[in-house]
């Protein structure tokens, strides 16, 4: 469909103020990228806090990272990477008009997000049990120095990331319903693509959080 088509020739899912489906798609996609740009800058504030305090309290960071379980972090990395794969496969099948299979891949993504949260919950529970709470509530003895600051940053960064995962699960569930009832199709798939972009961003943030919190010590 070219840009010369009249509004009346457009499918009903193209808004009246767009000249073409392609224009609507690129506008929606660009809007999503602007949102992702904001998300990247928002998370870089957290990364900056991590870097600045690591610079000031190197000893605390060394002993703090010892408490974190590298293998749980690594397992969660694999889970999130796999969920990114199921997400691209969902969009691929949607674009190939294999709706049923696309819906299955979306639910697989939601399921993997759930697995990620369960592992995260075990990690948090273990730390609460040890008396490791953020900031001034820290009462463990496991970490020397400014442990409250280290775990304040740990809980803020991983907690905000987990919040993104929870929101992503809700949005993907909504997408699965929309794909199933036919309001998102291979032709009109920009919602699926944008939610895919959001999901990959959640994965990207974890790709940096994992080595910085769990591995570098």
């Amino acid at each position: 469909m070219g840009a010369t088509h009249h509004a009346t020739d457009q499918p009903e899912w193209v808004a009246s103020f767009f000249e073409s489906a392609e224009q609507q798609r690129s506008a929606a996609s660009m809007g999503m990228w602007l949102f992702l740009a904001q998300e990247i800058l928002f998370f870089s504030g957290l990364f900056m806090a991590y870097i600045a305090y690591r610079f000031l309290y190197p000893g605390t960071w060394l002993s703090g990272a010892e408490v974190l379980n590298k293998w749980m972090g690594a397992a969660n990395t694999v889970v999130l990477l796999t969920s990114s794969l199921t997400m691209v496969l969902a969009i691929r099948d949607l674009q190939l008009n294999k709706t049923a299979s696309s819906v299955r891949w979306i639910w697989a993504t939601v399921g993997l997000a759930g697995v990620f949260l369960v592992v995260k919950a075990f990690e948090y529970a273990h730390k609460f049990h040890m008396g490791i709470f953020p900031g001034g509530h820290y009462e463990g003895g496991a970490v020397e120095g400014m442990a409250g600051i280290f775990f304040g940053i740990y809980y803020t960064a991983t907690g905000l990331h987990a919040l993104h995962v929870i929101i992503g699960m809700g949005l993907l569930g909504w997408l699965a319903v929309k794909v199933k009832n036919g309001s998102v199709t291979g032709e009109n798939d920009v919602l699926a693509e944008n939610l895919g972009l959001y999901w990959h961003l959640v994965d990207l943030v974890w790709i940096f959080l994992f080595p910085m919190l769990y591995l570098v010590k």
């Binding site: 469909m1 070219g2 840009a3 489906a21 392609e22 798609r25 690129s26 996609s29 660009m30 990228w33 602007l34 992702l36 740009a37 990247i40 800058l41 870089s44 990364f47 900056m48 870097i51 600045a52 610079f55 000031l56 309290y57 190197p58 000893g59 605390t60 060394l62 002993s63 590298k70 690594a74 990395t77 694999v78 990477l81 796999t82 990114s84 794969l85 997400m87 691209v88 496969l89 969009i91 691929r92 674009q95 190939l96 020397e144 120095g145 400014m146 032709e187 895919g196 972009l197 990959h200 994965d203 990207l204 790709i207 940096f208 994992f210 080595p211 910085m212 591995l215 570098v216 010590k217």
Partner: protein, 286 residues
């Protein structure tokens, strides 16, 4: 001089950032290529020729931008999905890099090397996700523009903050029951009104045995400490490190051989204590 250094660091980081985004598709393609070779010839083929139903774009000889745009608009369908092999290849490369980064962390490298390699691997993984899963490679130039602008400002943010923090001196000060980090002058002295943190580990005992020695004696230094973060360092008067010291003919009779133990507390403040043994003439055999 410091200002010059800051400016250079800022420009260096910006340059690295720009290179990163220029190289992004290349890094992605290389890693996918490497993984495909591991997987086998069949999955490697998608890099060599375009199969029907794929949007893997040829890097060599790209059409001019205007032509590319026109071609995009002529397409009946906005974009066909990439091949299954591409996605599985990217996924495999991501898994390999995850194994690599965990493996590297097990090597017990010097900390700053460990940080460097962890971030290199994380950036490679991020490049793969951005280029292939998020379809930035072969995507519209507006996306690349937004992404590089974001990266630019992120780097400015990091570089400015770190060049500020890195050019100040800090020292620990006592404030009531708390120890706080305060800005100090270049010599590390705190401003008037602040009492310096009198920290450092407390050495409850330091002992060199035996107390008298002669040529051939092996001295052993032992110490216990509280509030210590890490290991105790044992340093002898001749500059060598270790818990034992062999008295030789180069240690004249009458000298004191000292063992200085030191260590860092949780705030990395150093503390030390000393013990010694005296060199005496070797007793005559009886």
């Amino acid at each position: 001089m410091t200002i010059l250094l800051n400016v250079l660091v800022c420009f260096g980081l910006v340059a690295v950032g720009i290179c990163f985004f220029i190289l992004l598709p290349t890094v992605g393609q290389t890693l996918v290529g490497v993984f495909s070779v591991v997987l086998g010839e069949q999955s490697f083929s998608f890099l060599k020729r375009e199969e029907s139903g794929t949007v893997v774009r040829r890097v060599d000889n790209p059409p001019p931008l205007a032509v590319a745009e026109a071609v995009d608009h002529e397409d009946d369908h906005h974009h066909e999905p990439a091949s299954l092999q591409t996605y599985v290849g990217v996924y495999g490369a991501l898994l390999l890099l995850t194994v690599a980064t965990v493996g590297v962390s097990e090597l017990g490298m010097v900390q700053r090397h460990a940080i460097f390699w962890a971030l290199v691997v994380a950036s490679a993984k991020a490049s793969l996700v951005i280029a292939w899963f998020m379809h930035v490679k072969g995507g519209p130039s507006s996306t690349k523009m937004i992404l590089s602008t974001t990266a630019f400002f992120m780097i400015v943010f990091f570089a400015m903050t770190m060049s500020d923090l890195g050019t100040r001196t800090f020292a620990f000060a006592e404030e009531g029951n708390a120890t706080v980090l305060r800005e100090a002058n270049r010599e590390g002295r705190l401003p008037a009104g602040w009492s310096e943190h009198s920290g450092g580990p407390t050495f409850t005992s330091v002992d060199v045995s035996p107390k008298t020695a002669y040529v051939g004696t092996t001295l052993t230094c032992s110490a216990t400490a509280t509030d210590i973060n890490g290991d105790i360092t044992y340093r002898w008067s001749d500059g060598t490190e270790g818990t034992t010291y062999n008295v030789t003919r180069f240690d004249p009779v009458g000298t004191d051989i000292t063992c200085t133990v030191s260590g860092l507390d949780e705030l990395l403040v150093e503390g030390s204590k000393m013990a010694s043994a005296k060199v005496v003439p070797r007793p005559d055999p009886t």
